[in-house]
Symmetry: C2
Subunit: 309 residues, 2 copies
Amino acid sequence: MSGKGAPAFSLSNDAAIYSPEQNKELIFTKDTLVAGVHFFENDDPFLVAQKSLRVNLSDLASMGAQPLGYLLSLSLPKKNFDIEKWLAAFSAGLKQDQERYNWKLWGGDTVSTSGPVTISVTAIGQTDKGVNISRSGAKVGDDIYVSGTLGDAAGGLVVLQDDLDRTLYDELINRYYLPEPRLKLGRALTEIITSMMDVSDGLMGDISHICENSGVGAILNLEKIPSSQVFGNLLATNKAYSRLAWSGGDDYELLFTAPKNKNAVIKNLSDELGIKLTKIGEITKALQIKLLDDDGSEITQTKKGFRHF
Amino acid sequence: MSGKGAPAFSLSNDAAIYSPEQNKELIFTKDTLVAGVHFFENDDPFLVAQKSLRVNLSDLASMGAQPLGYLLSLSLPKKNFDIEKWLAAFSAGLKQDQERYNWKLWGGDTVSTSGPVTISVTAIGQTDKGVNISRSGAKVGDDIYVSGTLGDAAGGLVVLQDDLDRTLYDELINRYYLPEPRLKLGRALTEIITSMMDVSDGLMGDISHICENSGVGAILNLEKIPSSQVFGNLLATNKAYSRLAWSGGDDYELLFTAPKNKNAVIKNLSDELGIKLTKIGEITKALQIKLLDDDGSEITQTKKGFRHF
């Protein structure tokens, strides 16, 4: 590698060598985070490091993959930026999550930029050969499920942006900063699902990906979308925030489809892992994504977002 | 992946799946290029694309690896930037080199930035299991070799920066923009060398890496460093440019060490591939890197570069 690195950081510029195990498939994903776009410029680098890893781990989770290693590219400003201090906190954040998820830094590079901090992670994971991981397998009549609760991360972002009382919404802010990649769940689901992805762009956008790739449509029920108590509290202050549950991103829950006869298996898995798995709708033949309001009226996607009919 | 992408570009946000072949090792490297640091803001995106791939291919070459695929992360400015036009040229450049090197785009992401264009490539290649690739195997008494000619790329950069007559130095400018990754040579050398890397930071910096990792020193002979006819022409205009041959980067030639008894094998390989392979020095026990001038006097590395004694 070209090695134009910040010497304070221990990123080795050597190439990484990996001997694949037999009967495994390797999964590669890549997610880049830019200061001012994907996180705030003054966010704690410790948390930024962990978010950078976790959004990529979530990609692996959505492929039912076990994390193996990652490569990291850092573009860091030269001016008005305390590189040593930033890297100390960032590295500590990486280290903690590497241990938490048993994930290894395989290499990477550090370069300087006239722009904002840019963090590019390439994630490498593995699955057993032949495991079913797809965004294109949803079938008409399949149930649509989501793990955990939706809207929390987007709610946390709103709390930060609208300068609400943070002490009331700690839980939401934490979910915004530190998503929990559903690795165990993702692996377990590979034997059950017909399609799966993680909710990173918002429920409606992500179910659209599955439907487009599968050549199907979907009906979702707003009242079934699972939300947390704290998100309910936020909603009570302003009903307009309800859109966050279906259009807000960054929850990194798993969205998946499964045949109806898998209902009991999914219930068992939910109990076993202690993770809420909620049926929120159904795959349809009609090539539309419909979101039904509590009273049965349709909330419809437009180019500029969603509107009520 | 989070899919905050430029829709005009066909970068799939899906994860890539790869089934490794038996008895192979996978090689991962990552190199990031930032506009204003690693290339000029107004450089032709077609050439920038190819340079981005080739510096990574050169990393694979230095590991004796065969290219398999790559992941690409693009951070692109939103303001004062014609994203469609830029991407059209950039994609065309990628496409041509993908075919040339039989290398596949496995995936990646595109995000927006308030900063300069930032291109991060993760390169994946493979070698046979157990192949000897190392920066740490140089032994006292080994010969030090370099492929091709050195100084050309740095010479090309000088021509651009000092606004010299470009028509006289086309060849140098081309080498600056379009390095030739020594893939075939790298693979062939794995059976011969004790250590190898590519010359990306400049000969002296790169031989230092090998020596540090191997716990040895080196003596290099300035007069033996191979240079091109056109570089000689540049040198004739200003003797100060001679430093480019040993301190200039971006040539992406292979630098390697080999036992003396491999001399004939290396000569044969050079003839077979039609690539000049030149012995430029020797590995020493003394932990210093010495560069000897034509008259035998020593040019010594200082913190700020190199100076004559």
